[in-house]
């Protein structure tokens, strides 16, 4: 018998606007020592499914409408609160998505670590014993100087380190079932590889059953024995990993697999290498600090050119300074030293007023389409504002121009009076793109424009960007942490690390022959959405 056997689970949310069937008749089972991956886009109900097993959903509005979830023969859905508390953190543990918000900022990590040990009745650990056990485990998950770090607070740890703490916390009572809810989504690709390896090793040594929730098919390919594909609360497909990847049956699975950005750029670029549009020389952006110690060198002496008509990819991990570089070029971030010249004009020397005509020519698409649009402005106001400000349209012609923009980014004209919250993430990013191209710019900085989106939506947005670049002869600096996306879209790529550019080359040569060891490390850490290749890659990397 399987360790966990879920049958016909239904979880509905009773909201003011009606009933949302978050999980609708889903069945699954996991065996000890095996991994079940649940994949699906945001809102597909994969997290709700797992939280409902441990009664972690807010009730109301959530309500379990049907089904059984047998864990070791006991139904989790009908057990008493006391029994449930006995399961949580003891037999069944959870690793959550965001290590930045899932640890209590007011308590030391040591205190949080030992809690599952000392508050479970059957554990009967003393504080001193618990402390020793926790330090052992911190050591096992790869935290250097575990003894000393035991009394540190979460904010003194990096994201990857915090996720290690979360893993140690989940493993401390040696659970039989481990639920991982997108455990590496908030992390950089090299850290992701380490964390995944860690989970895999722990699973192996402790014979734990794992439910692994992810939207990243590459990650899933390397880990899963079984895969459950979910969409809009329903199970679309269940099967073992190879079958789902190589012989998918449901149309939705096929769509998901097709949307993964893979391989080289297919469209031919129209870069004109002889004409540099932008020339950046020894650019430095340093932040803050009364003393040299506090100064953060976000961008530290960077020189490169952006050629007319090209898409230049800029990759790097979080904190590498890539966003700051993009903003500094547009003078949206302060420039400490160095020059940015745009078609021969020195931008860093211009005053804010003198910069206005250049602002029209250079635009930016921001990462988060939820935060970067003014929630109190309709789409019309958002799109009309730059047109009117730069006097590209007058009151009479503006409506017509806005409609043209809507057509161009693929939004229905009827939506023009709506507010941002009425749109989905992908549609919002279309609005943001429309705003950026409204002034007919020549140069656009796109800062992770598709990173907050689901893979199928991401594919659409990338296609839209490629199409617009082609149609309007745009030049683009495309910033992303996702190397597959960058490879898919860029003509040339730069690799950034700690404020410096380590390497730049045409995309395919860079992929084929990375010169810098860091680039190699980055490329080797990318999970491939193909079980056999991905397992071979992991095996190669661990040697």
């Amino acid at each position: 018998m399987a360790l966990l056997d879920v049958n016909g689970l239904k979880v509905y949310f009773h909201t003011r606007n009606g009933v949302v069937k978050a999980v609708d008749d889903v069945s699954l089972s996991v065996d000890a020592g095996k991994t079940l991956a649940i994949v699906g886009e945001s809102g597909s109900g994969k997290s709700v499914l797992c939280y409902s097993l441990l009664d972690l959903l807010p009730k109301p509005p959530a309500r379990i409408e049907g089904g059984v979830a047998l864990f070791d023969g006991q139904d989790l859905l009908t057990c008493s609160k006391q029994q449930m508390r006995g399961y949580r953190g003891n037999d069944i543990a959870v690793i959550f998505q965001d290590p930045m918000t899932c640890l209590n900022p007011f308590l030391t990590i040591g205190e949080q670590l030992i809690e599952p040990l000392i508050y479970h009745r059957d554990a009967r650990y003393g504080r001193q014993q618990a402390r020793r056990r926790a330090i052992e485990l911190l050591d096992e998950v790869g935290i250097a100087g575990a003894e000393a770090r035991f009394d540190a607070y979460p904010h003194e740890f990096s994201g990857g380190m915090r996720q290690r703490v979360m893993i140690a916390m989940a493993m401390i009572n040696e659970p039989r079932l481990l639920i991982c809810d997108e455990p590496t989504t908030a992390l950089d690709v090299t850290i992701q590889a380490q964390i995944l390896r860690l989970i895999k090793n722990l699973q192996h040594t402790h014979n734990v059953a794992v439910i692994f929730i992810s939207h990243d098919l590459g990650v899933v390919a390397g880990l899963a024995d079984q895969i459950l594909v979910m969409c809009a609360g329903k199970a679309m497909e269940t099967g073992d990993a190879e079958q789902v990847f190589y012989r998918p049956e449901s149309g939705y699975t096929k769509k998901l697999l097709a949307a993964i950005p893979e391989g080289a750029k297919s469209a031919t670029g129209h870069a004109r290498p002889e004409v540099p549009l932008l020339k950046i020389e020894h650019l430095k952006t340093w932040f803050g600090g009364h003393s040299a110690k506090d100064t953060i060198k976000a961008v530290d002496g960077v020189s490169f050119e952006i050629r007319q008509g090209e898409i230049l990819g800029l990759v790097g991990e979080s904190g590498s300074g890539k966003s700051t570089l993009g903003r500094s070029i547009l003078r949206l971030a302060p420039v400490t030293a160095g020059q940015v010249s745009y078609a021969g004009t020195e931008l860093t020397a211009l005053s804010a007023r003198q910069l206005v005509p250049w602002r029209r020519k250079m635009q930016m698409i921001f990462q988060d389409p939820y935060a970067s649009l003014n929630p109190r402005m309709t789409v019309f106001e958002t799109l009309a504002e730059p047109l009117l400000y730069h006097e590209l349209a007058d009151r009479r012609s503006v409506a017509q121009q806005v409609e043209k923009l809507m057509d161009e980014v693929g939004l229905a004209r009827a939506y023009v009076r709506k507010y941002p919250h009425e749109f989905s993430g992908g549609q919002r990013q279309r609005i943001a793109i429309g705003r950026a191209i409204a002034t007919k710019p020549q140069f656009i900085v796109a800062d992770e424009p598709a990173s907050a989106l689901d893979v199928t939506i991401q594919a659409q947005i990338l296609e839209l960007i490629l199409d617009l670049v082609d149609r309007h002869d745009l030049t683009m600096l495309f910033i992303s942490h996702d190397l597959s996306v960058v490879r898919h879209i860029s003509d040339r790529v730069m690799v950034m690390y700690q404020g410096k550019i380590l390497e730049q080359n045409d995309t395919e040569p860079l992929w084929a022959e990375p010169k810098h060891s860091y680039t190699r490390q980055l490329l080797e850490a990318i999970p491939l959405a193909d079980p056999r290749l991905e397992r071979a890659r992991i095996a190669a990397a661990s040697q």
Binding site: R88, F96, T101, C102, P116
Partner: protein, 312 residues
């Protein structure tokens, strides 16, 4: 932390100087004087009195000599209570007002926090609505209404508690303390409810639940600290409010505390008394704001370690 406190104390010096100067100018520019009374007093008597208290000197000279006195911790003699210094009068009233304030504060904090936390555990149910409606009532009800009302109910109808006085009959401290603390309890209840709701919806509370911790422990150990931060920050300003409010309560219950001295001094144009009390209260308010800020920092490990510097 020490550096922070020292810095804040240094900043207090110019603040106090402004308070002193403004108060000094205001009391001296108000019409009338300490010795003007309804009954006509012979001019030479007033002259002699003014000379005795150096009121015949130019204003700037009075100001400078007053500043000199303050540096030495001397608030000067009272004009209206001959033979007694302002220092003595403050020393006489302070223990009573301080005790009243302390009890009121304790009531405000204990009742306020427990009501707020209690309400936040089941939002939008009866358990939330009842204490929060009571809190709304508490905020709206001025102490000059609440005080007599309490006296009427508990002092006169039920005859459970004395109606006035301070420390004369057992139990006479209860009603004044409640009257003074009630509004702050209500405010703190609403503050802590709001913040607790915020904290209880945080991801790390879900983590705590997923670890299998018992619910009371989650509330007390994981949520309460974050929930208390705005309450702690409110304590400084609340203290200032308590000082101001003590006058009304002291009048209602016939308590010989500082608040009554203060208002009488203003009516009497008792220059040194007004100034002395203002400076004293201002210093206390600065001190208590500092203490509440230090407490808020101590509660937040990010700030405590001084590594909370904002990153871009």
């Amino acid at each position: 932390m020490l550096r922070f406190a020292a810095g804040r104390l240094l900043q207090a010096i110019p603040v106090l100087l402004v308070v002193i100067t403004a108060t000094f100018l205001l009391v001296h520019s108000a019409p009338g004087g300490p010795f003007s009374a309804e009954k006509a007093v012979p001019a030479e008597v007033i002259k002699a009195l003014e000379a005795q208290y150096q009121l015949d000197q130019p204003l700037w000279k009075q100001y400078v000599s007053y500043l000199g006195d303050i540096v030495n911790g001397n608030f000067g003699p009272s004009f209206k209570y001959p033979g007694r210094s302002v220092n003595e009068l403050i020393a006489a009233g302070l223990p009573i007002t301080a005790e009243l304030g302390l009890y009121a504060m304790l009531i405000a904090v204990l009742i306020g926090i427990s009501a707020g936390v209690f309400a936040s555990l089941r939002p939008n149910t009866l358990q939330d609505y009842v204490p929060m409606s009571a809190a709304m009532l508490g905020i709206c009800m001025p102490s000059f209404l609440l005080g007599p009302l309490l006296v009427l109910i508990f002092g006169i109808y039920l005859e459970w508690l004395p109606v006035s006085g301070w420390g004369d009959i057992p139990g006479d401290k209860i009603l004044p303390s409640i009257t003074l603390g009630a509004a702050y309890a209500a405010y703190i209840a609403r503050l802590s409810r709001g913040q607790m709701l915020e904290v209880l919806s945080q991801d790390y509370i879900r983590t705590a639940r997923a670890k299998g911790l018992p619910e009371p422990l989650i509330v007390v150990k994981h949520a309460l600290r974050g929930g208390l931060i705005p309450v702690v920050a409110f304590l400084g300003p609340a203290f200032a409010g308590l000082l101001g409010g003590s006058f009304v309560v002291e009048t209602i219950f016939q308590i010989p505390g500082l608040g009554r001295f203060y208002v009488q001094a203003a009516f009497n144009r008792d220059y040194t008394m007004i100034l002395g009390m203002t400076i004293f209260f201002a210093s206390l308010i600065i001190l208590f704001n500092l203490l509440s800020d230090m407490l808020a920092i101590w509660l937040n490990p990010k700030l405590r370690h001084g590594s909370g510097a904002a990153k871009p």
